[in-house]
Symmetry: C2
Subunit: 350 residues, 2 copies
DNA sequence: CAGCTGGATGTGAGCGTTAACATCTCGCTG
DNA sequence: CAGCGAGATGTTAACGCTCACATCCAGCTG
């Protein structure tokens, strides 16, 4: 027999206690897995709980303990593959650790919005806040925040005081750049993300240092904003420059979506990939293998990022001072990269 | 002067009351916007709140009111564009209405997992649960659920007893099919989603009825699983059939990702789109305009879905019996569709 | 066998808020 | 000017739980 179907009054600990013939405190002890409860008493209580279908009221518990076993997740633009994936990893790790996740999706990555979101989470008595954002002002807000709970940043590559986990963007960018140089390209052009994105900057840094290490010229950075459409715009310009005779044979783009946009222009302009120009993206979207041609890209393990975020939170909650390593990225080589055109072979599709 | 920097003890209502020279109850009245507080008292209290940086403890409020002003969102696979987007709309609408959102991401869409998630939400004292899932067993679980809070389904197209909002999948599918027929194709093939997806079935139904209405033959349905890779697999088979002389000139795919996979095979096989075969997708991903060629697709307004989900929740909470209309989809025509090959023009790219 | 120790259990208080009710003070009306 | 109603405020009691402490009952030791 399950729960008293239509009893309006919700079950409370005292109901369980009455049924098991013990005090409410003993029920509490059983619920919270305390020691010093006689085995048979414990079993009796557990049976009562099961029969009644009792679940403790978390609000009451939160009131007295001050902890809700909830993690607040604040993020911008969850519609992107990366953040969504990270969130997935985070939620599942949190759940495994007995925490639930409350979300706040910022419309804009301003310090004020960030502060406000954290404030609301604090009022909600969350145990910790994880910030999933990579823009400067949000990061700035995070730094200046004086919250009464641990606040950890995920995916912010920077060396902050604030504890953070992230993918090693710089290494990823070097991997991409080196791959192209090793194929014989004289240099590698770069389409970066927005200037106020820490990740974008880290990728630029990696790209630049790899070029410099190889003694290759460092072309001017082109700017996109992560969207396919910005990749398309940059592509127009690039195609024009190539037509004008400029020696562009390899491009590293700061994400796959911009690469898609670029791919689209190049196709329209009759330029072959990788015949005329090689492309490397970043993120390795699930779609990347099905681009035309399949895109060489730097894979980031977003879910792992989420998991580590939770790890870090738990460590902070235990007062440990964990400083997690960056998650290593991996280069996935596909058909969008090849050697530079030896002779300008007209492999285009008229 | 903001908050007493390093005072360990958190602020409570009584602190504000003391500072404003009133009772805690008056503070409560001000906080909750009650009438019958003298204007100057109200102002004094508000100033005290601002000066102290006080925020009411939501757990305590939840304990006494039984409401947390929180909506529980349960979903599977948030990593897809659609659900992520819907979640975005939902969160922002919820926040606008003064609700926060707690999430639970199911690993698998089973009835048990669903039931468990809802249970946890109930223990958390959420005010309502929104289920963002389209699979049969989850829907089944939803139907059999006897939760003490409103549970609404989003995106489940079915005509359930359980209140739901959704996009009109069937109309979307008819739009796509009609477009292809109007271009002159004799019939339209369909690559569907998984059999246990309600959306997949609705799209099949729309496709079929449009074909029947037009007196066109109804080919056997091909199955994918929403992934680009399944689209790729189906594509292989399709290409072989076309090579064998079968008359396939138009394909409607149940989502854009599968269309991408199909596009990729067709390109490899040297079949032109739309020269040899026209393609229509579903969802209109932000990437769709940059596919090669740009994909004609049925746009769903996912964010609107989220907003309506919240609307529905609020209505239920007020005891209203709102039965929202389905969100209308729209066909976005791009370059992947055209008339069937009049003469088999070898427009392929060798 | 008194006296102790420690495991098992119960009792009472209090977490910070809201709701219900009590009170107090005006400004009217008759 | 007594009396009354309504608005403004205060007082008290929950809400359901955990924590600190009190109690009880063995089973020991000396």
């Amino acid at each position: 027999m399950q729960a008293e179907a239509a009893t309006a009054r919700p079950l409370v600990m005292a109901d369980v206690a009455a049924r098991a013939g013990v005090s409410h405190q003993t029920v509490s002890r059983v619920v919270n897995g305390h020691h010093s409860v006689a085995p048979d008493t414990r079993e009796r209580v557990q049976r009562a709980i099961a029969e009644l279908g009792y679940r403790p009221n978390l609000a009451a518990r939160a009131l007295v303990t001050g902890s809700t076993r909830t993690i607040g997740l604040v993020t911008v633009k969850i519609n992107q593959y990366g953040p969504a994936q990270t969130m997935l990893g985070l939620e599942s790790a949190a759940r495994a650790a007995g925490y639930s996740v409350s979300i706040s999706i910022l419309d804009e990555a301003t310090a004020a919005a960030m502060r406000d979101a954290v404030d609301r989470f604090v009022a909600q008595s969350v145990d910790a806040v994880v910030a999933l954002t990579t823009y400067d002002d949000a990061a700035e807000a995070l730094r200046s925040l004086d919250a009464p709970v641990p606040v950890v940043a995920v995916q912010v590559g920077g060396a902050d005081d604030r504890p953070a986990v992230g993918v090693d963007q710089e290494t990823g960018a070097r991997l991409a750049t080196r791959h192209l140089l090793e194929l014989g390209h004289r240099t590698v052009h770069h389409v970066a993300g927005p200037a106020d994105s820490q990740e974008a900057r880290a990728r630029i840094a990696g790209w630049r240092s790899e070029l410099e290490a190889a003694g290759a010229p460092v072309p001017a950075v082109m700017r996109g904003d992560w969207t396919p459409s910005s990749g398309h715009a940059v592509g127009r310009e690039l195609a024009a420059r190539m037509r004008a005779g400029e020696d562009v044979t390899a491009v590293f783009l700061a994400n796959d979506q911009m690469a898609l946009g670029l791919l689209s222009v190049l196709h329209d302009e009759g330029l072959a990939v990788p015949g005329d120009v090689s492309l490397v993206g970043f993120d390795d979207l699930p779609e990347a293998p099905y681009f035309t041609p399949p895109l060489t890209s730097v894979r980031q393990d977003f879910a792992e990022l989420g998991r580590r975020g939770v790890q870090l939170v738990l460590a902070r909650l235990n007062g440990e001072d964990l400083h997690p390593d960056a998650v290593p990225p991996a280069l996935i080589v596909r058909a969008s990269t090849g050697p530079p055109p030896g002779v300008p072979a007209p492999r285009t599709c008229a």
